[in-house]
Amino acid sequence: MNGIMTGSRNQAFLFMALGFTVWALAFSVLYGVQGTGCELGWHRQPIGPLSLLRWLLILIWAAHMAVLGWVYWRCRSALAVTAAKAMPEAFLWRASMALSITAAAATVWIGLALLVPSICVV
């Protein structure tokens, strides 16, 4: 095992699930905060051009995008190392990297919802 592959031998396998776990987390947290925010009236507190609730949602979204960026970078470096040695893990790192990109795309895609004007039921 080299530097990049510290930890368990099945780390590559775990990373296959990690990208979309971040997506799922983004999804759940956005939905949960949106519901709670409507309940507590955060959508009626303006901060600059947008409401507190919308700022919060955008922030959550961006934080998850950043984490996905880190996952992608991690998979990429591990792929470089394992592919050079033709290890069977290389396949999983390649898949994990593709999945981190896919998860980021899916996060952008659901982020479209943040553009919707009516944030809570009147």
Binding site: N10, F13, F20, Y31, F91, T102, V121
Partner: protein
């Protein structure tokens, strides 16, 4: 008898293996645990339930064929449509692919059986008994009648006072034991029991599909199980989780149900897509294109499918921004679907396709599923959904998805693998006629049903006016459905003819490249006389003589060691040889365990709670009996496995399948617990009539006792598996005793807290608190059992520094219990403070 030299005489080797792997005849068949037999039982039973569900469908279409029909009244009709959906989803689709996976996976992966044969058998009996409860209810006219989605409050006691809803909740929960058992077993099997050399990137795509499906089941079923248990508790003991007058919320049920219900659709679709990806390259006569793309798509699809559940709830008044999340996620699923769709078409386009009978059914899939996918995108669009939700448009859509995305591939699979099951090839094929009858009948029934829905016909009405303008549409649908039924009858006849009168099939009749075709046909109980070493994704192309070589014992384990049933285990990722897994012989104990489990469920159903408690305790006792006399009393170290290689027995490695089973079971358990905690927080934020009239004042003494007990148990369990402690029997037994005592103290603490909850029937907050505490208390009680069991095993000589599997499994449990216990304490202490401020 130990004979570790490779037997070169295939007949002698067969006799040796057959003697220990076979299932006894006569009543001995009830003791079968072999995956080939249990898989076959799942499949046949599922088709019987398909017949029952089909007859119910015919009753629906007969009733709706003409306006103002007096054939069925609303009471009967409501039972019929509820049972049609329930039977098809829970008793047909899921068990069918479980059976197929059980039958195929070990053979495709180059193993002799599933990782936990007795668990397969137990799962089968649970499925059979649970399903029977529902069918008996139907025959007695007591079938559930609130729809397969069982929305509260309609399914609550006030509006459904009879036993009907209980039959659904109890029967389905019983059946779900088999789904969870199958999920755990499929994952452990794919992780560990592959042939040496089969790294994950060389695994057949079908195994990838089943691996992801099994994970989805592991996380998808617990919310429904929790929802069902809460609803049954509300119905039986009046704890108000869904009653808005007392701080409950009917929407909680919808969230829990669809959190299961939408992934469920993909849980059904993915195995069928796995069949597509397995069969299609055979008939295209080339390898599939985009292997890694497909793997990535499956994983993406699995995750995305958990983000769609609210699209069944677009009309419950959720704000647009939240709906938009789910609308976006629902359309996003189209991407991984399209990747697979075009990988299949591209494989056909770049290969040399052959239009054989299974391929014809695959083409039926393309046609029907493409249409279901397109209407699926339409339904993901929020405004359109508002119009057609709960109309016949949705009925048409879901049948296009499920019949297209499941039944057509499964019929293809039936024709494709039947020679493998029976060793027989068809004499005359009625299959082509059957295909066209099913295909034409299906489209006749459901294509125009889209229009019926757009013209305003809602679901679940037992009749309609002649002025509605839906008469001819419904008549055509009904005629089509009978054409389809004739098609299915013809298919059944064709299969029966082939099984009973087919001619001898030659080996690997389709020229497939996957390992299951390297067994004899029909396969022997042990699959392979010796196990292969795999070097590529297409093991049958690499070595044409592989089947003969394996039969001669020229692979791994081509011998019988001390009459033990053995197969090999590998490292998850690399597929390197890691362990020799010992498997159990035929035994009646799974059947007996399922019978006492049935006593528990029937006790709950009939409200004989003392009987239920006895059934529960007996089930736990029976499960502990599974390991009696099972294991090694001496360290074995490395054992020869043939080919000049050696591996330790599974009891002496960290990555034993049963260790994984506990980890996976705790994942499912954790999901159930999270669903419960989510339910509590959801009610707090969303439900009417909060804050509650009275808050819990959790006693400090009880809480301290619970914390101390949990911590002591977790720490003691950790110490008990530390290498220095493991080596000395008195020390490890002492630590196990501490773990037992710790769990006992925690149990006492949680029971004290439960008793401090003022009347849990008053408010959902109190009810949820009570159940949360009871959940942890149950785990602490089982923790006492686990720790005691560890002591028994240690005393009986099954534990040593090398053989620590039993204790490590127990340690996982104690750590987990400590975790959920602390979360529960945080919630019950924190929530009153937050609400009180």
């Amino acid at each position: 008898m130990t004979d570790t030299t490779a037997a070169t005489d295939p007949i002698r080797l067969h006799k040796q293996l057959h003697r220990i792997w076979r299932t006894p005849p006569g009543f001995g068949r009830l003791s079968a645990v072999n995956h080939t037999i249990v898989g076959r039982r799942f499949i046949i039973t599922a088709f019987v339930f398909f017949g029952i569900g089909g007859i119910l469908a015919m009753l629906i279409r007969a009733q709706l064929a003409t306006p103002r029909s007096a054939f069925l009244g609303p009471e009967i009709y409501n039972q019929v449509f509820t049972m049609h959906g329930t039977v098809m989803m829970f008793l047909f689709a899921i068990p069918l692919f479980e059976g197929l996976a059980m039958y195929l996976l070990p053979k495709m992966l180059g193993a002799r059986d599933m990782a936990f044969p007795r668990l397969s058998a137990y799962g089968y009996w649970c499925y059979l008994f649970g399903g029977s409860i529902l069918i008996i209810g139907l025959v007695l006219g007591l079938a559930p009648d609130g729809g397969w989605f069982m929305y509260t409050p309609l399914s609550s006691r006030t509006y459904t006072p009879g036993i009907n809803a209980d039959i659904w909740l109890i029967g389905i929960t019983f059946v779900e034991i088999s789904a969870l058992a199958a999920a755990i077993e499929i994952i452990a099997t794919i992780f560990k029991t592959r042939a040496p050399g089969m790294s994950l990137d060389k695994m057949p795509l079908f195994a990838w599909y089943m691996l992801v499906t099994a994970f989805m089941m592991l996380f998808g079923f617990p919310p429904l199980i929790v929802g069902s248990i809460l609803l049954e508790i509300e119905r039986a003991f009046d704890l108000p989780f869904f009653d808005p007058a007392r701080g409950g919320d009917p929407l909680l049920w919808q969230h829990l149900f669809w959190l299961f219900g939408h992934p469920e659709v993909y849980i059904i679709f993915l195995p069928a897509a796995g069949v597509m990806s397995t069969l299609l390259p055979v008939f295209a006569r080339r390898e599939i294109i985009g292997y890694i793309w497909i793997v990535v798509s499956i994983v993406a699809m699995a995750f995305l499918s958990f983000g769609l559940w609210v699209h069944h709830m677009f009309t419950v008044g959720i704000p647009h921004l939240a709906l938009a999340f789910f609308s976006a996620a629902s359309t996003a699923v189209a991407f991984p679907t399209a990747v697979q769709f075009f990988a299949w078409i591209g494989t056909l386009a770049t290969g040399r396709p052959q239009l054989k009978l299974p391929m014809l059914f695959l083409l039926g899939f393309f046609f029907v599923f493409a249409m279901g996918g397109l209407t699926g995108v339409m339904l993901a669009i929020v405004p359109f959904n508002w119009q057609v939700h709960d109309t016949h448009f949705v009925v048409a859509h879901l049948h296009y998805v499920l019949v297209g995305g499941f039944i057509f591939p499964m019929l293809a699979a039936a024709y494709y693998w039947l020679p493998h099951f029976t060793g027989r090839a068809p004499r005359l094929s009625l299959g082509i006629t059957a295909f066209w009858l099913i295909f034409i009948g299906f489209n006749l029934t459901f294509l125009i049903m889209h229009l019926t829905g757009l013209l305003g016909m809602p679901r679940r009405i037992y009749t309609y006016d002649d002025a509605a303008g839906w008469e001819w549409l419904n008549l055509v649908s009904s005629i089509g459905s009978f054409v389809m039924a004739i098609g299915f009858a013809l298919f059944t006849v064709d299969i029966v003819l082939q099984v009973t009168m087919g001619k001898r099939a030659r080996r690997n009749p389709w020229g497939a490249k996957t390992l299951e075709w390297a067994t004899a046909m029909p396969p022997p109980a042990y699959n392979f006389a010796s196990l292969p070493s795999v070097t590529s994704r297409t093991p049958l192309t690499d070595a044409r003589g592989i089947a003969v070589d394996l039969a001669r014992g020229q692979g791994y384990l081509g011998f019988v060691r001390e009459g033990r049933l053995e197969t090999l285990g590998v490292e998850i990722t690399s597929g390197r040889l890691e362990q020799v897994i010992r498997l159990p012989n035929s035994t009646h104990i799974p059947l007996y365990t399922a019978l006492v489990t049935a006593v528990f469920f029937v006790g709950v159903l009939l409200k004989f709670y003392l009987v239920a408690v006895i059934g529960f305790v007996a089930t736990i006792a029976m499960l502990l009996m599974w390991t009696r006399g099972w294991g090694d009393r001496a360290d074995r170290g490395l054992m020869p496995v043939g080919q000049g290689e050696e591996a330790p027995p599974h009891t002496e490695v960290t990555g034993a399948p049963s260790n994984w089973a506990m980890t996976l079971a705790l994942f499912a358990n954790g999901t159930a617990y999270a669903s419960l905690a989510f339910g509590m927080l959801f009610l707090w934020v969303v439900a009417p009539n909060w804050p509650p009239p009275v808050l819990l004042d959790p006693g400090l003494l009880a809480s301290a006792l619970a914390v101390a007990g949990l911590a002591a148990a977790a720490f003691a369990a950790m110490r008990s598996v530390a290498p220095a402690v493991l080596a000395k029997a008195p020390q490890r037994e002492l630590w196990l005793a501490v773990a037992a005592a710790g769990n006992g103290a925690a149990l006492a603490g949680f029971i004290m807290l439960m008793m401090a909850v003022p009347d849990p029937t008053r408010h959902a907050y109190l009810a949820a608190t009570f159940v949360l505490l009871a959940y942890v208390a149950l785990h602490a009680a089982l923790g006492v059992v686990f720790a005691g069991y560890g002591i028994v095993r240690s005393r009986a000589g099954y534990v040593s520094a090398m053989r620590s599997l039993d204790l490590r499994i127990g340690a996982q449990w104690h750590r987990y219990t400590a975790g959920i216990g602390l979360i529960a304490l945080l919630l019950i202490h924190g929530l009153p403070r937050v609400m009180g401020s």
